[in-house]
């Protein structure tokens, strides 16, 4: 028996709409089996994992908070990946954005002005963009693989943050513990609703996603990104420069990751500390792909992933299952989405025996 793919003449709209749902259904089924094997009531577990968090105002806020950085980074990465630039180091750009954005509230902590917050956000974007500029420069000018250079830079950023909060930026009021001084109130991103602690970061995420959606769909730049991503040669014929595209996509995704970093630090943590991200930069890669590299899809994917975190915590508490379940769920979800997307472009045929199989065998000696 073998599985064969047959390319559809046109991508199937039917499956394009349906495939995420099939994937979700498969994840739920496999997840249910997993809970059952762990000796838990599968329906109850799935309910408190996927449904219960949606019924409570408090947890909706928590989902929004968790989703904001994932969406911000995810949309930036979607542009990168569409143009065939594999920025894996968003985590490092997130950290560097947070550090650059914190210059104002930490170093100039005596300066109180309504300008503080906008400056922080701008610095954060610049910091993230500059840090993404390193792999961009190395790729554009030195031909260095960006997957690895951007990834190595993550470790360096983490250690740099560690050094700066233990060293030069350590709070004088913190008993020498590795934290910076707390941000003054005007350096804190304001909350947007009275009902909970969702802050402006979520608005940034949605606005960024919509802007990039507009760019991809209605502007020449968006066209350029798609063309260059599909074929560098075709792009060159159309007069597009893949080198400039490296810079554009990397700087853009870096700036958005940096913005996510400073928004997170300003809105939620209110200071710098050795660990400011539970791996947002890496999780956002999943978000980008779950959203099929489409900005609107990224919003949905970011919310779904945030739900798995919040729901995972709920089942940990109510059913005392381990927190690793969340990770397994995320992995499964991504697997199923990726495999179901095959249905959009291809028809899948299961061949029990036949000429093609024999031929392939013979061809390989």
């Amino acid at each position: 028996m073998r599985i064969e793919l047959e390319k559809r003449p046109r991508p199937s709209t039917f499956y394009a709409v349906l495939s995420p749902f099939i994937a979700l259904a498969l994840t739920v089924i496999v997840g249910g089996i997993m809970f059952w094997m762990l000796g838990k009531d599968p329906l109850g577990a799935l309910y408190s994992f996927f449904v219960e968090p949606l019924l409570d105002v408090w947890s909706l806020h928590e989902i929004a908070i968790k989703a904001a950085p994932l969406i911000l980074i995810g949309v930036g990465l979607s542009v990168c990946y569409r143009s065939n630039n594999w920025n894996i180091g968003a985590e490092g750009q997130f950290i560097m954005g947070a550090i650059a954005g914190s210059i104002v509230p930490v170093v100039f902590h005596d300066w109180h002005s309504p300008l503080v917050l906008p400056l922080m956000l701008i610095f954060g974007m610049i910091g993230g963009a500059l840090y993404a500029g390193i792999p961009a420069f190395l790729k554009a000018n030195m031909n260095t693989n960006e997957i690895l250079s951007s990834l190595m830079l993550v470790y360096i950023a983490q250690l740099f943050l560690d050094w700066i909060v233990r060293g030069p930026w350590r709070s004088p009021e913190g008993y020498n513990f590795p934290v910076t001084r707390n941000f003054a109130p005007e350096a804190v991103l304001p909350e947007i609703l009275a009902s909970g602690r969702t802050n402006l970061g979520f608005v940034f995420a949605i606005v960024a996603a919509l802007l990039i959606w507009f760019m991809m769909r209605y502007t020449l730049k968006g066209f350029e990104i798609t063309v260059l991503g599909q074929s560098e040669r075709a792009g060159r014929f159309a007069g597009f420069s893949s080198r400039r595209m490296i810079w554009f996509s990397m700087l853009l995704s870096g700036a958005l990751a940096g913005l996510a970093g400073i928004a997170e630090v300003s809105g939620n943590i209110n200071k710098l500390q050795p660990i400011i991200s539970p791996g947002y930069g890496f999780t956002a890669i999943i978000v980008a792909f779950l959203g099929r590299l489409n900005p609107i899809g990224v919003i949905v994917a970011g919310l779904v992933l945030a739900l798995t975190y919040v729901g995972g915590e709920a089942v940990q508490l109510t059913l005392s299952v381990s927190d690793k379940v969340t990770r397994v769920f995320q992995g499964l979800l991504l697997f199923f989405v990726l495999s179901c997307d095959t249905l959009i472009l291809y028809r899948i045929r299961i061949v029990l025996s036949g000429r093609t199989a024999a031929m392939a065998q013979g061809g390989a000696e």
């Binding site: 838990k40 050094w163 008993y175």
Partner: protein, 356 residues
Amino acid sequence: MKKLLLALTTSAAVLGFAAAASAQDKTKICFIYVGSKTDGGWTQAHDIGRQALQAEFGDKIETPFLENVPEGPDAERAIERMARSGCAMVFTTSFGFMDATIKVAEKFPDVKFEHATGFKTAPNVATYNSRFYEGRYIQGQIAAKMSQKGVAGYIASFPIPEVVMGINAFVHGAQSVNPDFKVKVIWANTWFDPGKEADAAKALIDQGVDILTQHTDTTAPMQVAAERGIKAFGQASDMIKAGPETQLTAIVDTWGNYYIKRTKQLMDGTWKSEQIWDGLKDGILTMAPYTNMPDDVKKMAEETEAKIKSGELHPYTGPIKKQDGSEWLKEGETADDQTLLGMNFYIAGVDDKLPQ
């Protein structure tokens, strides 16, 4: 594989049973962990404490917990979730949970919060910590007796006051026996990476130390010491299983005693916000059995332990010089808690420059 699954399902079933036995009238005492409850070190010690608490009160209480909670915005959510779920008291067991604990505590004035190793309190937030340095002082004395080369290796995690305080206490203890004793330090910059900790242990041994102590959480350094045939000290938990012929003693965090004490106070209404810094005498830390050493060394260690417990001996008693040669404590003077809690300098005898 079948056996694996079986082990998985049975352990899960036991947990499930515990959860099913819950009822509404029970007092909920909740825990937030920064690591995995089976990390073999810091978090595991807290979880053992939680189990001791559960055993003490039986079905009068429930002790739900969340593990692997990252420090940052996730911490605030996790703590708030606990408070909302009806916890009467929440123990947040990592320094990085400090601001999140304070923030949530403001919103839930009726819930009591206990934050480990921090320094911020509120009417409903107490802090608690353990005087680990008392144990380190004893270890230093043992090291000085047991070492032939007069040099010990110290695998440190991060240069925070607690760790620096431990190194200094170790050195001071050692020098009370052998004034020329030296300590080499490697900062692993991690609490938890067995590979890196093992590498650090090997590097120290290769540089000629013949006693090893660690302020990181895995048993990897103990294993390396066992392999290379030198002696070592355990950290946070009794690590004797990793080195039956290697471990001299270990500082064992016994948080359970503290958790039981505070829960009792909560129940009879005498709980109040305090900054608690307990030591050997309160049973918040204990020394693992003194093993693999001659009787005279064992006797010395036991005597020192007794003296610390009775208050006769403060490990930080002058004269002590700082690393730069300036005087820190005069003859007979003891260190005050504020200085210790913010310690950011080495005393003389540490062969390292403190990361600043």
